[in-house]
């Protein structure tokens, strides 16, 4: 038992980025825009903050540099998500195609820039990443908690949240009462970009010492699974992130337990995806997804 408690920091370290990204995904989809670009946006954030931290750490010192890098990573995600917003909101593009494009683009751009800046296919190693706080728990866990709480508060307790959800359910109706659907969807996509970038930064600064092509490795897609498994609701998403993050953590820490050592660690990697697929089948028919998610909104069309 004691053994398990010792693993809590590791679990939280892996849960946090997933929870932050999934929160962004939830906001985006609740506004009616499907965002499968979460993976690519995380890649952008992770690269930007790893590069920023490498350059800033000697100048600003570790702790200040970490926070500045987090911000830079988040902004990188936000800027990149603008492409998705422009394509899928302003130009009514197919949201899946646009997301796929961003995923491809992110992998190319980040490694390309690494080649230019560092003359290798990854960033150079920074000296120290983020420092764990008391109990060995990284501050990212608190950031994640804050993010999901604020998201819940805004979505359910503020007029803006109500409007945002209305845009995802029935944009025509929302527009008829004077809501600017395009502006709200823009805000939602950019928020998801910011959060995915933040999550990518958290991921690289806590689990790694540099950015490379495998840093993000499907976390964005796990977040996508979380959104759907958590039924597009804050509490569900928090629970799903905890579950999937723990599964991921076990793929790393399983070797510490004699009972689990014999199993291939990949079983734990598969779990998030398999569970999501299974629940989608079990709860089929009951559609929890926002009604208009994925459908472009055309002004004047009924």
């Amino acid at each position: 038992m004691n053994n398990i408690i010792g693993k809590v920091p590791t679990i939280l370290m892996l849960v946090s980025p997933i929870l932050i990204t999934a929160t962004g995904g939830m906001i985006c989809e609740r506004s009616g825009v499907v965002n499968i670009a979460l993976e690519g946006l995380m890649v952008c954030g992770a690269f930007a903050s790893a590069a920023a931290h490498f350059f800033l750490e000697p100048v600003l010192g570790n702790s200040l540099s970490v926070w500045v890098s987090l911000l830079i990573g988040s902004m990188a995600g936000l800027v990149f998500s603008y492409v998705h917003a422009f394509a899928s909101v302003s130009l009514n593009a197919d949201q899946t195609v646009s997301g796929t494009g961003i995923n491809l683009l992110a992998n190319g751009v980040t490694i390309f820039l690494s080649q230019i800046l560092f003359k290798q296919d990854r960033t150079k190693q920074f000296i120290l990443g983020m420092m764990p706080g008391p109990g060995g728990i990284y501050p990212t866990a608190f950031i994640a908690l804050l993010v999901i709480f604020v998201a819940w508060f805004v979505l359910y307790k503020r007029p803006f949240g109500l409007r945002l959800r209305a845009c995802g359910e029935n944009p025509q109706a929302a527009a008829s009462v004077g809501i600017n659907v395009l502006r709200i969807r823009y805000a939602a996509v950019l928020a998801s970009g910011f959060l995915a970038g933040l999550a990518g930064s958290c991921l690289v600064l806590t689990t790694n010492t540099q950015f490379n092509s495998t840093t993000v490795n499907g976390h964005g897609f796990i977040a996508l699974a979380v959104v759907s498994f958590g039924r597009w609701k804050p509490l569900g998403i928090a629970g799903a992130s905890l579950l999937f993050g723990t599964a991921l953590a076990f793929s790393i820490i399983a070797s510490d337990y004699t009972l689990l050592r014999r199993m291939p660690t990949e079983i734990f990697n598969i779990m998030p995806y398999a569970i999501t697929l299974l629940t989608l089948v079990i709860f089929s028919g009951k559609n929890y997804a926002p009604l208009s998610a994925g459908k472009p909104y055309e002004k004047g069309a009924s």
């Binding site: 899928s88 130009l91 494009g101 995923n103 683009l105 992110a106 751009v109 080649q115 999501t276 089948v281």
Partner: protein, 373 residues
């Protein structure tokens, strides 16, 4: 004067009416942005075009010599792109978005590796059965998605993404069970499992070009035939256009969707089989995605889901990919080819909007002209 004006307008109209012309424009835009990016980071973009020229024609400008090998490598590299493109395109024709090409590819690769290492070593039959099994594996993996979609209304986008990663990790678990396998490779294949063809190697002075190319050509023809010439293809396309109308017209929609995803999966599975037995002499324990499945989405989009278009787009992507080492030697980061691929997809995403803008400006112009008169 009049003629000039009408010709100018006809180009624009061409872009609005023709998917092919728009694809060409989108690809050119992708290259343009890539070139600008290279300039911005202070490298010489000529290096990229030299590399591309050498891949396309085998001609190296700097040395003034032809190297046939590069053409062979280009064709070899294009094979998985074309097949994964066909996979995505086939599903798209039925109105499905197959992001699962990657997973279907991995399953095909895994099945082929298993049979290559453990199957009976009969000449010709060995690799042939391995490829057929790869196709069946991919078809099953795709078929599951279709079944979940048709029966349980599970979005194929989410389902395929989940199955991609399940396939990747399942492949690792299974391949590592093969005796003599370490963490990244299996023992060497027996010779009978290889797709090597001495005459193709001789023809292209030792490139990786292999028997897979014939299956790729066959696949393109089969794709065209099924989609355009059979009742099955008609039903699938009808389902893609309007599911309810198709059902009303007596087309079994559930069967159509499952079948469409299965055929799509078979193409991607074949790609996995050809890459594993054609490009490698040992089985691989995958540590990450090869990316052909994702690139296949772009290929199909550029090719407008037609047989010929997908073939050409696949050759384009294969060209970018096989130009990578040459770009590196011209001091251009090879990732520029991924950037161009990504840009092309983003441009395609917004081309719908582009079209709206162009139609709008045409209308406005026509209205102005009418007013002027």
């Amino acid at each position: 004067m009049m003629i000039q004006a009408s010709r100018k307008r006809s180009l624009r109209e061409l872009l609005i009416s023709s998917d092919g012309a728009l694809s060409v424009l989108v690809v050119l835009l992708g290259f343009l942005c890539g070139t600008i990016l290279i300039l911005v980071v202070g490298r010489n973009p000529v290096g990229m075009y030299k590399a591309i020229l050498q891949v396309l024609t085998g001609y190296n400008i700097d040395r003034g010599r032809f190297y046939v090998r590069y053409i062979g490598e280009w064709l070899a590299q294009s094979m998985p792109y074309i097949l994964c493109g066909l996979s995505m395109a086939f599903a798209a024709r039925t109105g499905l978005f197959n992001i699962g090409g990657e997973g279907q590819y991995v399953i095909g690769l895994t099945v082929a590796q298993f049979f290559a290492l453990l199957g009976p070593q009969i000449p010709v039959l060995h690799w042939m059965i391995a490829l057929v099994l790869a196709m069946i594996g991919g078809a099953l993996w795709g078929g599951i998605v279709g079944w979940l979609k048709a029966k349980y209304e599970v979005s194929e986008v989410v389902a395929t993404i989940m199955l991609n990663y399940i396939a990747l990790y399942a492949s690792r678990i299974l391949i590592m069970r093969i005796p003599g396998t370490n963490t990244y490779k299996t023992p060497d294949y027996p010779v009978t499992a290889l797709l090597r063809a001495p005459f193709l190697e001789k023809l292209t002075s030792g490139s990786m070009l292999n028997l897979g190319i014939f299956f790729v050509i066959l696949s393109v023809i089969v794709y065209w035939f099924i989609i355009e010439k059979t009742r099955l293809g008609y039903g699938l396309r009808a389902t893609g256009f309007n599911k309810d109308a198709a059902r009303y017209g007596g087309i079994p929609v559930v069967k159509s969707i499952v079948l469409s995803m299965a055929i799509a999966g078979a193409f991607a599975g074949l790609a996995g089989g050809i890459v594993s037995l054609g490009s490698f002499r040992f089985g691989r324990v995958l540590s990450g995605n090869d990316g052909y499945g994702f690139a296949g989405i772009a290929v199909a989009l550029v090719g407008n889901n037609t047989a010929l278009g997908t073939l050409l787009a696949g050759l384009l992507f294969g060209m970018l990919s096989s130009a990578q080492p040459l770009m590196e030697s011209n001091s251009i980061p090879k990732e520029i080819s991924y950037i161009i691929q990504g840009l092309v997809v983003v441009f395609i995403a917004i081309r719908g909007g582009l079209r709206i803008v162009m139609t709008y400006s045409l209308k406005k112009k026509a209205a102005q002209e009418a007013q002027g008169k």
